[in-house]
Symmetry: D2
Subunit: 315 residues, 4 copies
């Protein structure tokens, strides 16, 4: 993705979701075409097919955990890479058509994840209301805007969706976790990674050897021996049978950092399959703490020392 | 739960789901009262509150991975323990009211997870159809049975739901993964674990020390040093901020096995928090492979040897 | 050895060695019978046979390393245990009969280890002199005292030997390493270990499984997992063939400390053979740094927690 | 040392020792000048100073363990490298001047190590005899040959020494361990290592970070992570104080093997000091068992894969 900025961005739609909010944080997206898709896999396929230059998709939520559809869609199919991460605070509102009172709400539509994140508020303020599942929080809002036949009185959605669909906000900040945040990734077709910044992450998927009890431990030691810290690790099932997993991993540092390079090459050697998913700047720009002996300079020194040994000049 | 068999079983409803199928595998459930609940948390709370004696809930699917609502509901609140696991093959049918033709289906209702698992079939056979989210596969079937106003023409559901709601099966085995299976657990209020069978699992949740890079490795070493294999490990977010996780773990063996006992005590010592979720027979009855030096006899021998040392009789 | 203090102490003789100096640091030895032996194995056998109550022998020197004859003699034969350690600064003098000048010395007798430790001084001050091997530094001194026929002019020995044999000190502090120190151990027949002091060591010998590449790593992990630090580890050959080793190990803490107990029981389980060689106070009385989660209280808490689980009261 | 074969070989003398026997196994030594030295350090210094092209010195004995003078002399001073290893079975004879009967022997001279290895035979056959220390087994034999004034009646030495000094062999194979063997190394000034043979060893000395409890474990993990097995590890004290060690290590494989190269570079990065002591063919020519994922081809594949990632072509 270096060079010309993308001109077409796919994202998990519809408009009015937190994903669109994430996309709004990308400066280049301001002048680009934004293409909503009904599923993460569809958005990613648009990139794979060349119908979009990049796709913004949610990958992890501080309350709900990993977004499995994204993890799985990145792990399979034509390779894609993450080029950027974006954090979006998750705040929910209860929205309805003008004139609706909270006391009159009997059916509330929203995405099941939003129900999970507003459970406490809903139990307290709308104890008798029925939850109506929607494909997204924005779809719930859109349904209300569309008219009478929605089959529900109110929607739990992002503030931006209430605004977009000209709904009235009956209550704000109704999420149970005030600090909830969702992490999004901007995904593109493979290209040279952006240059290391000193505050990077690398994502990959590693498959464990079958039936090898200590395999996960060995996988972690590939990182530990090179002083590379993991920031996220999630297991995902492989294929049809229980008990076979791959691991979706984020680690500190850039694949162009010597310690990360050696660790991922180690994975490549010991795992039946490894998929690289990109090195990119951390959204929080927190510099990676590099342990002594694991800097690029240390690796270069060790290599130079070895080269001298091989030339018969140890010391 | 030892002693008197449960007389009231909660489960993730409604009737006609795979969870009910799982419950049907429990002999004692045949004569018991079965209580469907609209959510895993509600079913578990029924057990906590004494309104049910046990609850059957899904915990892991071979395609979709861990059932996060179950993992999270077991990790918080009053302690509960798993007393049994049940495996159910996951097969989906396309069901409709009598007289519906596949070619006439334009809107298909089901649970989003079922959409994910039948994606390929749906794309091939109903490429133009819209997916309508339902709270469960059985609810989608029930909606059709209820009459005209469902807002959709067909449901993707379990065979048992089609049967229960007297729907016509338009297509069988439409799941993308023919061998897909879901693992359910029967959960009860804490009591003495069932006796070891030699083919047991132990479940627990372990929290990592904050900001400790090698913490996961140390956690795994608590198991490895005692020769205990993990059969499942999943990270779950803690609280509001990204980057803090606990791990939901299944390991081979029973907490009354010496090697497992020492490993979980090790976790208790090094982790800020550990929640024990039960020891119970494996559904597949596969005997645990116990490595030399980790049998109960080895532990007893080592203890006797140490006791002799402490009495001044080494050797 | 608790109860009545020993009345007969064997030691690596002859009188006038650093070993006798070590024995002088043991208060109870002041009134006891001191029995010099010509070899470490002989001194230890005297204890085994009941001819002595304890034996003082050197085990490690800060310059020369482990005293292999002691390591091997403790590793084989009837079990013995270390009950105390003593540190003795190693200072050498050049001693001769009265009237000898340094310039007149052409042959210098001493133990080969003393030659090694005074190499620099001897090269500088007696460059032309021949080193004559003696069975001990004290024997070299004794030979001079015995008269003309010694076959050498001077001895390198401990100050105490020069004094005992009424020799003249031609030069003091001639060792190359001013801070050199030898560690001695007082060895007795097995009995209840002395009570933990919070500043203890435990010694043992562990044999590795044959032909198991990662065996040493596993052995070390038995300690690391329980937070037990090693203070010394030395390999010793086993039997006749190269490539088979056992390890002589000192670790921090007392075998009655829960973390040490569990670690040594772990060794007992995974190693084909483990020999316990005693828990005893550190000579430097430096308190052991106990890591969080590895105190006796942590172990007791974990055990109580496990017991509650097994009784059906988790939490 | 590649290219022209050495023409002057230093060795630990005097003539007639096992070291000379080791040297006789080196074909090029047949036509070369053999230079005996009175100490390992002197033999090595002769190489350092250019007075010899290579030195044969003992490094390890199957009964006595590591030869500390060699380990220490290789660890300090100008760097030298091992270019070859040689194994010599250790067999001892009791030798005397013609006409001596075993029953008449009252004083037996030999090197202390030989006493240790013939202890059982001496105790049984010469229970009353005194052991007289000599600087080498050959020196003991030479002393007898020199005449009456030796101060002893018999020598324990190598068969070759009895032959050289025209002594009578009173008893053969008197060592306690019939299969005892000593490992010697041929040491030269640094040069390009001999090419890998698939059956090589690499020797090095690694210093641990001070006061770091897990340092040895980390050092071993540098090898384990790359699938490199250790064949020998010995601790040696550093400097003056107890408790500070370096480790003398032999590992399987050649420093030009990718897995060994990465492991020793890892040591270089994490240890305050590492000294490379050479890669050379195993005396037993036993091929190194290379684990899957650690062949040169695996390393090359991983590097090529990484290079593709960095060029934007993952997969």
């Amino acid at each position: 993705m270096p060079g010309v900025p993308p001109s077409r961005y796919a994202y998990l739609g519809p408009a009015g979701t937190f994903t669109e909010q994430a996309l709004r944080q990308v400066p280049a997206a301001a002048k680009a075409e934004l293409l909503p898709f009904a599923g993460v896999d569809l958005a990613l396929d648009a990139v794979r097919d060349g119908d979009a230059d990049a796709a913004m998709v949610p990958i992890e939520n501080s309350v709900e955990g990993g977004v499995t559809s994204t993890l799985d869609a990145l792990a399979a199919g034509e390779p894609l890479v993450v080029v950027r991460e974006v954090l979006v605070p998750v705040t929910f509102v209860l929205a309805a058509r003008a004139g609706t009172a909270v006391s009159g709400v009997t059916r509330v539509a929203t995405h099941p994840h939003a129900v999970a994140q507003c459970r406490r508020w809903l139990a307290e303020h709308l104890p008798g209301a029925t939850a109506v599942p929607a494909t997204s929080t924005a779809a719930a809002a859109a349904g209300l805007a569309a008219g009478q036949a929605a089959g529900y009185d109110a929607a739990v959605c992002a503030p931006v969706a209430a605004q977009r669909y000209r709904l009235e906000v009956l209550a704000s900040d109704i999420g149970d976790n005030p600090g909830a945040v969702t992490r999004f990734v901007l995904v593109a077709r493979p290209s040279t990674p952006p240059p290391p910044t000193g505050a990077d992450k690398t994502s990959l998927v590693a498959y464990l050897p079958h039936n090898h009890a200590g395999a996960l431990l060995e996988l972690l030691e590939q990182f530990a021996t090179r002083g590379v810290d993991l920031t996220r690790i999630e297991s995902r099932p492989i294929g049809d049978s229980l008990g076979q997993y791959c691991f979706s991993i984020d680690c500190s540092g850039h694949v162009a950092d010597a310690r990360v390079a050696e660790a991922v090459m180690g994975l490549r050697r010991v795992c039946p399959q490894v998929r690289y998913l990109g090195s990119y700047p951390r959204a929080d720009a927190a510099p990676v703490q590099v342990r002594p002996g694991t800097t690029d300079a240390s690796f270069a020194d060790a290599r130079a020392w070895l080269d001298r040994l091989l030339e018969g000049r140890p010391g």
